[in-house]
Amino acid sequence: MRALRLIGLLVRMSVLQELQYRANFFLSVFQSLLSLGTGLVVLALVFGQVSSLDGWSPPELLLVMGVFTLIGGVVQAVIQPNMTRLMQDIQDGNFDFVLTKPVGAQLFASARAVQLWQCVDIVAGLVVIVVATVRLDGRVGIGPVLAFVALLIIAAIIIYCFWMLMTTTAFWVVQIDQIVELFDGVYQAGRWPIGIYPRWLRIGLTFVVPIGFAVTVPAEALTQRLSLGSWLLAVGLALVLCVVTRWYFRLGLRRYSGASS
């Protein structure tokens, strides 16, 4: 309960901060439109040549693009800003100030920098998902929708844990700014169902960088092609990652030597 109140407070502070820069909202909208436009152009080019890609019909691939945009928005708005801030703090010693606060360091470090205007992508993703679902012509029941929402939440947890694991590595290697760009590059793979990739890449995109679970699996749930095995795997992976991330973060904390030493 106290944790939720704290998150609420931190988010409110970030929002107030961001509201000072209202022009950035229009920039974000413009950015979202450009990237959605590019995505639609690519889909149009693909479906100008074939009628389905690896068994995915046009509205189904539109759905994948929607989930990709939505999760991308969550990463850009909530996860990435916090993680870059944490990396920076560990590098220059400002992490001391986080440790002196009477709240859990991981919680505080994960919720203090929210970029409000990046939420435009979350809205854009939702719109694309709704449009795609309508174009699936009523083939979607209430069950798959519930499963979809549940898997989106699991996806967010998995991606958060992945980022936190990467960032925590900064306690040992200090300089890891490159991973932001590395992740952005690899995340683009999520634009397409991971089934189209060669086997070795598919395994990498599932277990090394869990983009498959973040984007393809929720989309599979909504289009009713998800097996029970994938369900269990997604839930299991989320649980395992949570435990490992927590353990790894505490291990990292013990490594941290502070700015004054």
Partner: protein
């Protein structure tokens, strides 16, 4: 002051000193960037994700469309996107976003004091960097080739034109992005403009897909813009299919765009630099 300079003629050794300047700056770039080889490498590896995604998608399309898409087989596509990775690296030049920092931090004042046009430093420095990049790129190309089995049979002329074309592409992109970046002298709200430029470039250059896959009106449009000269043309020059007429015409077009870019840089720079003010202590 020598008499030649008074009469307004080029001072003796002007060309020579320019060559010296380029060689020295390029050597510095090679030495500096080789220090950051690990960082450079991580960056290059991160960049591979983009062409690999395109390649997989279009190979899948080619397979489901009965072996080829717009006349390109999976092997042709692999060749296209592997050469793509080198051309992409040749396309990295001084970013327009860097101008804001240059102006804000006052670095501009320093470069204005030098007796050479500041574009020469950027051209020389990034050209030197390219040598490091090309060396680091070779193993990447070998690994990608082993995985994706590219099919290409370039003739001697194609290879020669390609070797010139990648440097011409580098020059064209340097010049045009310099012009774009100089907009920072007039306004600091440049983010939207840059993004629009980069999306147009992505679609019309052959970076997103080989231009053969684009509808014909897009191909027509791309002919009149500089973008394909920096990306699609160098790749196609090596990978083909390309007639020898188109090969030399493409090279000619590249030289034309270098001319246009140089004129634009000269014109805009003259006006831009007048708007620059600095406060020193």
């Amino acid at each position: 002051m020598s008499q030649a300079a008074v009469r307004g003629e080029p001072r003796p050794g002007r060309a020579r000193s320019m060559v010296d300047f380029y060689v020295a700056t390029m050597k510095i770039a090679v030495a500096a960037q080789f220090q950051y080889r690990l960082g450079n490498y991580l960056y290059m590896i991160g960049m591979i994700a983009e062409p690999v995604i395109y390649l997989v998608v279009w190979s899948t399309v080619a397979r489901s469309a009965g072996g080829s898409v717009a006349g390109l087989t999976a092997g042709n596509l692999a060749a296209y996107y592997i050469v793509w990775t080198l051309v992409r690296n040749m396309n990295i030049v001084f970013t327009p976003y860097g101008w804001e920092e240059r102006i804000k931090s006052g670095q501009m004042s320093g470069s204005l004091l030098r007796p050479v046009h500041p574009i020469h430093f950027d051209l020389a420095y990034f050209a030197g960097w390219k040598f490091v990049v090309i060396v680091l790129w070779l193993p990447i190309a070998i690994v990608l080739s082993l995985i994706f089995h590219p099919v290409l049979h370039p003739g001697v002329a194609q290879v020669l034109v390609f070797l010139v074309a990648i440097w011409a592409a580098y020059l064209i992109r340097s010049l045009f992005l310099w012009v774009l970046g100089m907009v920072s002298f007039w306004t600091t709200r440049v983010g939207a403009l840059y993004q629009l430029y980069f999306v147009l470039e992505l679609l019309l250059s052959g970076r997103l897909v080989p231009l053969q896959i684009m509808p014909s009106w897009v191909r027509q449009l791309a002919q009149f813009l500089p973008f394909s000269s920096t990306f699609g043309f160098p790749i196609q020059a090596l990978v083909g299919p390309i007639s020898s007429g188109d090969l030399y015409l493409g090279l000619l077009k590249q030289f034309l765009w270098i001319g246009v870019g140089a004129v634009l840089v000269a014109l805009v720079w003259k006006r831009a630099v007048r708007r620059y003010t600095a406060v020193g202590n």
